[in-house]
Structure formats: structure tokens, C-alpha cells
């Protein structure tokens, strides 16, 4: 008698489905609690992106304006579309007297970046990380080219150059 049990089972599963979607509908109709739509231009001041949002590449700086980048350029070789440029230089280390690499400029071309995150994976020092800024609109393309290391910043101590 699978004919009748099929009908009963089918009806049961349909009602299960309708209960789930019905819950979505009525909760959102009366409370708008679960609505995930962002009314973008209206809530531009209050909109905050979630932690895992891939907005842009940033260079981590701690409160003493120190970063972890020793200009090894592994991120540059990892980038598939050449949106990173790293300029480093060498100067003698005051403690050991040996020549040590240091970062001069970490240039990021946002207009070429596809947010693939390969540079972040490639970095041996975990110096790069995701930023949550989403509002990248500019009137001029040159404004999309950014220097990631803040002025006057230096290498964090304990990072091997």
C-alpha cells in the first residue's frame, strides 16, 4: 500500500516546507527582524560590515604605529593581477651591524584588486589583513591607489628582517 503512504508522506513534507517558509514570512512581515537587505545609501552612517567581510587589504598597525612587514615581497609575487607594489631598502642594524631590510612604501592598487586574499595567505609575518571598509567610490581613479604603511611607522620588534 505504498500508494496511500506516498500521499500522506508527500503531504506531510509539503506542510513541513510551508511551515518553514511561513515562519520566515510572518516574522519578517511583522518585525523585519531577519531581513538581511541593507538600505545602502540611507544607512551609510550606521552600516557596519561583519568581521569576515572582504572590503580591502590593510597593513596591520599596532598602537605604537608599528607594522609587521619586512618587505620580503612575497605578497607581490602571490598577487595574480599585480595590484601590490612593495619598496624596501637596506640599512645597517644598530645592534648587530648587519644590513637589514626595511619597508619604505607598501602600495596597494584597489582598482585592480579582486579580493582573492592570496597575499594575506602568502604573508609569512601575518602583516596583511582584511579591512571592513566597503565604501570605495571615488571620482578619480588615482585615489584608489593607496599607501598601506602609515607615515612614520616602523617594524615591530621581534620580527626578523
Amino acid at each position: 500500500m505504498s500508494y496511500f503512504s506516498d500521499i500522506i508522506n508527500g503531504t506531510k513534507t509539503l506542510i513541513t516546507g510551508m511551515r518553514i517558509t511561513g515562519k520566515y514570512f510572518f516574522v519578517n512581515l511583522f518585525t523585519r527582524k531577519d531581513v538581511i537587505t541593507q538600505q545602502y545609501p540611507d544607512n551609510i552612517d550606521t552600516l557596519k560590515m561583519f568581521d569576515r567581510f572582504r572590503g580591502e587589504i590593510t597593513l596591520y598597525h599596532n598602537e605604537n604605529n608599528e607594522h609587521k612587514c619586512d618587505a620580503c615581497t612575497l605578497c607581490v609575487s602571490a598577487c595574480p593581477n599585480g595590484s601590490l607594489e612593495v619598496f624596501g631598502d637596506k640599512k645597517p642594524d644598530p645592534e648587530t651591524g648587519k644590513n637589514k631590510r626595511y619597508l619604505v612604501k607598501h602600495i596597494y592598487h584597489l582598482e585592480m584588486c579582486t579580493m582573492c586574499g592570496l597575499c594575506i595567505e602568502a604573508c609569512p609575518q601575518d602583516a596583511l589583513e582584511w579591512g571592513q571598509d566597503y565604501h570605495h567610490v571615488q571620482y578619480d581613479r588615482s585615489k584608489l591607489t593607496k599607501v598601506l604603511n602609515k607615515p612614520g611607522s616602523k617594524l615591530m620588534s621581534g620580527i626578523k628582517g
Partner: protein
């Protein structure tokens, strides 16, 4: 009150014209009014559908143009009006141009039988339900012609599927209606509603009426070509199905007719099972416009059920569609008619 307005217009026209001319003028006026109802209904239902779909999918739906986004569909319709009517070179041009009018004409003809309230019903004949089912099955021809005349593989497949689907499910709709007609004993729509003054048919006929209602809802969804029965225009397989080659207003006719057809099927369900414009327990019988209000509320309820189906269930495969109709709905329906006849015979109805 409504009747007063109608008689006022009638007397006003009689002052200036002969009897025949008045009759014809009134027919034209009613036709114009129903065209207006057609357009407004279509646009409102499209808005409702998009809004409801939004809430089902944790979105908001159109909410920018006008209050609650009400003017969004009007803006869309204006866009469609302003677009060029394109066609394919090898299309059968006459059939191609005629096809949409089959669909809207049948939708309009069915609309004339819908009792919006006790007073507002354009055409109340003694074979109302029979007329309604026979007229609405002409609509298939419009879709079928569109699929054939477009000279496009996708359109043709869509049109063929329409033939299979509509003709199959016409049976179930018809037999569900017959089940209720057995209970009512009349085909005239106004009489069917009068008979429900003591209790709506879904309560009067209890078990077989509920089964008939469920079958009617399933088959009605299939009749109006909505998800989960939208094999006719299956976007992921056939482009847009039978109206792939239609643009501008010709496309809009199909689009609006689909929603008006949904309204018609919902109204038939309301008339047959939920007492049409009758208020529950006769609480507002004295108020003149209450019938219109209750009818609208009930129809929107049934339409919401259709939308709930649409945004919950995945689409059928064509063989599953036919299995459902011929192996499940039809046998159940036949047993159900016998059951209903027995109940009426033995006086077991409430």
C-alpha cells in the same frame, strides 16, 4: 447604494438616447470598467507578489517608488508600453500578433462572471460555472499559438508543455468544481453564494469538500502556470518558454493575464468553498459595501496561499507532473465525487 448609481446612469443615458443605444452604451461602459479592473488587478497583484516574495526570502521587496513601493509596477508597465514590439523574421506574423489577445480576452470573459459583491457582477447566467470552465480553457490556445508562431525551439517546447499540462489539469479543476456542484445543485454563481448563507460549503460538505478544495488548489496552481507547475516558461531550461520572442506590451499582456488568471482561480475557490461575498456568520449584512470588502479579503487570502506555494516548492519534472495528475489527483477526485454524491443522498451534509 451601488445599485442607485447604476440606475442613475441608466436613467441619465435614457434621457438622451433610445433604448437600444442606451443598452449598447452601457455595455461599452461596463467593458471599459472591466478593462480598468483588469489592469489595476494585474498591477496590484504583481506588486503583492514581489512584496510577498521579498518577505519569504528575507528581503524587503520593492519599497522605493511610491508608498510601500506601490507605484513600482506602474513604472514597470510604463516602461513596457514604451518599448518596441519586436518579432522574429520567420515567425507566423498574424498568429504571432493575435496570440496574446486570446489570453487576455479569455481572462476578461472569465472576469465578467466574478461576483465582487451582491450587486457587482456583470454577467450572471444559469450555467455560470460551466461557462467559466469552458471559457478559461480557451486561454490555452493563446499560449499554444504563441509557442507555435514564434518559430523558436524554446517557445515550441513551452507551448507543447502547455498543451499537456493545461489539458491534464483542466480535468482536475473541472472535477473538483463538479464535486461542489453536486453539493450545491446549481451552476449559477449568485445562487451558489445564496446557498452558503447557512454555512460555507467547505463546512457544509466537510470531508469531501476539504479534499475537493485541496485538489482545486493544486490543479488551480497548475492551471495558472505558476511555480511549482511553471514548466511552460521554465526559466532555467527554456529561456522564457512560450513568450521568449515577445516584447513590450505583447509580453505585458501575458504577464498581466497570468496574474489575473490567478485572481480568477482564487475567486472561484472563494465562491465555491468560502461563501463568496458573504460575511462570516452574517455579521455585516446590513452594510452596503461590506460584500466587496469580504470578497477582497477572502480572495487575497487564497492568493496568499498560491504565493506561499510558489515560494516554497521546487518545480516538477514533466513526468512527475503527469504522474501527479493521472495517477493521484484524478482517481482521488473520482472517488471524492462518489463520496460527495453519497453524502448528499444520505443527507450527511451539515
Amino acid at each position: 447604494m451601488v445599485l442607485n448609481i447604476f440606475t442613475d446612469i441608466h436613467n441619465l443615458l435614457l434621457e438622451y438616447m433610445s433604448e437600444e443605444a442606451t443598452h449598447i452604451t452601457e455595455l461599452i461602459l461596463i467593458a471599459a470598467a472591466y478593462l480598468g479592473i483588469f489592469a489595476i488587478l494585474g498591477l496590484l497583484l504583481v506588486w503583492l507578489e514581489r512584496r510577498v516574495a521579498g518577505f519569504f526570502q528575507l528581503r524587503l521587496g520593492p519599497n522605493r517608488v511610491g508608498p510601500f513601493g506601490l507605484f513600482q509596477t506602474i513604472a514597470d508597465a510604463l516602461k513596457l508600453v514604451s518599448k518596441e514590439l519586436t518579432g522574429t523574421v520567420k515567425a507566423d506574423s498574424q498568429l504571432y500578433r493575435i496570440a496574446p489577445y486570446f489570453v487576455i480576452t479569455t481572462a476578461l470573459m472569465s472576469l465578467a462572471l466574478i461576483p465582487f459583491s451582491q450587486e457587482i457582477q456583470a454577467f450572471d447566467i444559469n450555467i455560470g460555472l460551466f461557462f467559466l470552465t469552458s471559457v478559461s480553457s480557451i486561454g490555452v490556445i493563446g499560449i499554444f499559438l504563441a509557442g507555435w508562431a514564434s518559430n523558436n525551439k524554446y517557445s515550441l517546447i513551452g507551448g507543447m508543455r502547455t498543451g499537456i499540462q493545461m489539458i491534464s489539469y483542466e480535468l482536475s479543476v473541472g472535477m473538483a468544481i463538479v464535486t461542489m456542484v453536486v453539493l450545491a445543485g446549481t451552476l449559477q454563481i449568485s445562487e451558489i453564494i445564496e446557498l452558503q448563507k447557512d454555512g460555507w460549503f467547505i463546512f457544509q460538505g466537510h470531508i469531501p469538500a476539504v479534499i475537493a478544495f485541496m485538489i482545486f488548489m493544486i490543479a488551480g496552481t497548475a492551471e495558472s502556470n505558476r511555480v511549482p507547475f511553471d514548466l511552460v516558461e521554465a526559466e532555467s531550461e527554456l529561456g522564457a518558454g512560450f513568450h521568449t520572442e515577445y516584447s513590450g506590451m505583447n509580453f505585458a499582456y501575458y504577464f498581466l493575464a497570468e496574474f489575473v488568471n490567478m485572481f480568477i482561480i482564487a475567486s472561484i475557490a472563494v465562491v465555491l468553498f468560502f461563501g463568496g461575498w458573504l460575511s462570516p456568520f452574517g455579521i455585516t449584512d446590513a452594510i452596503p459595501f461590506a460584500g466587496l470588502f469580504w470578497f477582497t479579503i477572502k480572495v487575497i487570502g487564497v492568493i496568499f496561499l498560491f504565493m506561499w506555494f510558489r515560494w516554497t516548492f521546487p518545480r516538477f519534472r514533466i513526468d512527475q507532473l503527469l504522474t501527479l495528475e493521472w495517477k493521484y489527483l484524478l482517481p482521488i477526485n473520482m472517488v471524492n465525487i462518489v463520496l460527495m454524491a453519497l453524502m448528499v443522498w444520505l443527507g450527511l451534509t451539515l
